[in-house]
Amino acid sequence: MNEHDIWMNRIAPALDRRLSGLVEKPSTAQAVLRIAKGEDTPMKKKLSFTLVLAIMLALVLAGVALAAGLGVFGQFADNEQRKQRMEKLDTHARAYDAQVTIPSASPAMPLPAEDDYQRLVKAQYDRAFQFTLEQAYVDKTSLYFSYTLQHQDAEPVFGEGLPTGAFEWQDMPGARWADTYSIGDGQDDRKYAQWLDGHEGGSYIIHHNVGVGDGANLKDGTVLDIIDGDSRRMEDGSIQGYMECQLPENLPQGEELDIQVDLFYGSTVIYQDKQGVRTAYVTRPDNRGIEYFDFTVFRDGTTTSVRGRRRDIPSPDGKTFAEAFLSISQVDAKGHVRLHVPKSWTQVWNMLGDGDGPKTTDYIMDFVLYADGTAYPNRDGGVTVVDDTHLNIGLRFDLPRDAKKLILRPIYRHSGEKAEADIVLE
């Protein structure tokens, strides 16, 4: 049975068992028919309270002081997993400082502004954004870019009473915004809680949201999946972030890359009174709160490809064969090892959880890179079972670019590193 069959036989049954409590309602067809024929209006369910609170809290981000002298990539060199990569990106990425402004717009037809909802919808057209492509680096396998997003309406609006109009409210009876106060997300949380709790007759906050969508697209519509990314809200209300996106393997050669990034925006309304909390989300009806930015970046990251083979990798059924591919850019080294292995190894990887396999199987579970004798841990390590006798292990290393001798050393499940199975990369 190959990997495809294994996952096919695993995912659907697991989802159906775990979600067996979600079943159809006998009344659905008739309910929809009534709505379609104008005999009823759509019924919106309540959003679960914990879901809304988690979302609301996540919307209020703490600002981060900008470290002097660093580009946006460098601002994210704050944890071991990405520190070196971000620092190298800061050094080698091209600075673009390319700005795109989305000005405020006029609706196609005059919009009414007779209640709070209508005014908030109309206000979406008044919103303007400035997206700055700060830095970008493109090597053979990845597009990295950093950005700053500025928007005029960074500050929330505080009001009293229930906002009027056709808001699609999600109700949380008995809830209080301040009940989440103990999580301690920072100043904005405290301000929100103080405002909402300080008005027994009811009060609301309008929080204007904006963010950059995951990944990017090429101009021809090819999706560039996000591999990594992060963003932060700055003290001035702007948002800084970065993304790493996967380039397709068959991308034609060229000096430039045309990319498209998307922006989404809207406004969240939080209302609280003695009865509980209500929330609603408002976007521009014509574009659903989505804008697109187009950029051209240079494919000027340099990449060196190295590879290596080893035919006598120790394994329980005799020797096994390994072939390694590594692309080394100015940022990091990425690639994979393709292993021809005994079936007992693929069986282990096909089982859920490490260690569920036969305890005596001493299989290769990862690789460490030695560059001029210095060890670099694998920051990827993802394993793909290609078929019964082939595995791919993903590789990602921090790397000093000018290392003279590169060796991949396998790490076995029980016996650890084995120097006698080193793969020399050339």
């Binding site: 990997e3 996952w7 096919m8 995912i11 659907a12 697991a14 989802l15 068992r17 775990r18 979600l19 067996s20 409590g21 979600l22 079943v23 159809e24 309602k25 659905t28 067809a29 309910a31 929809v32 028919l33 709505i35 379609a36 759509p42 919106k44 369910k45 309540k46 959003l47 679960s48 879901l51 809304v52 988690a54 979302i55 996540a58 919307l59 949201n209 963010g211 995951d214 990944g215 519509g221 090819t222 999706v223 999946d225 996000i226 591999i227 990594d228 990314g229 397709p248 989404f264 969240t268 989300y281 976007t283 989505i290 859920l352 959880g353 490490d354 390590g381 993802g382 394993v383 793909t384």
Partner: protein, 172 residues
């Protein structure tokens, strides 16, 4: 005795058949997509409403299932594009899952959670391929991408799921 009235024309009959055939799968798929039972029920209602309204213009140039799944995925995407869901995705927990009607193993719960935690594009591919049983080409047509892109997303998803189930860090 209450009078039970049935659908009064051919279109309605077909629609009732459509709902009977797909509602359960859609509800579960929308739950995985949106992480909330109430929203999933809303999405299913919205999906079937859109389907009913566009039944007359459906030309059969794709399979009925592809057509309906396209409506469902787009409905879920619309709901999920708000900032709420972009940020919510990272905090789904075991205790947030709905009650079950069948016995489940810890592995079922874990796998369900990890699928829900996948990036949206990978999750779509997993749900359409492994749960809805669609082919790579049907999924490519539905999502408006190439077949190799679908295969790549499935491969990435399998790798992420495998790593996550092993307890290894995954790429964010």
């Amino acid at each position: 005795m209450p009078v039970v009235t049935g659908p009064d024309n051919h279109k309605d009959v077909q629609f009732v058949r459509l709902v009977a055939l797909y509602e359960r799968q859609l509800l579960r798929m929308c739950y995985v997509y949106l992480h909330d039972t109430g929203l999933a029920e809303d999405a299913v209602q919205e999906c079937f409403l859109k389907a009913y309204r566009s039944m007359d213009s459906f030309r059969g140039d794709s399979s009925e299932k592809t057509w309906l799944m396209r409506i469902a995925i787009n409905t879920c995407k619309d709901m999920r594009r708000t900032a709420w869901f972009k940020l919510r995705t990272r905090s789904v927990r075991l205790e947030d899952l709905p009650d079950t009607a069948l016995p489940v193993s810890p592995e079922d719960s874990l796998l369900t959670l990890e699928i829900m935690r996948l990036p949206q594009k990978l999750m779509e591919a997993v749900l359409l391929y492994y749960y809805q049983g669609m082919t790579v080409y049907e999924i490519a047509e539905l999502l408006g991408i190439s077949a190799p892109s679908v295969s790549t997303r499935l491969q990435k998803a399998r790798r992420r799921l495998h790593n996550a189930l092993k307890g290894e860090p995954t790429d964010e």
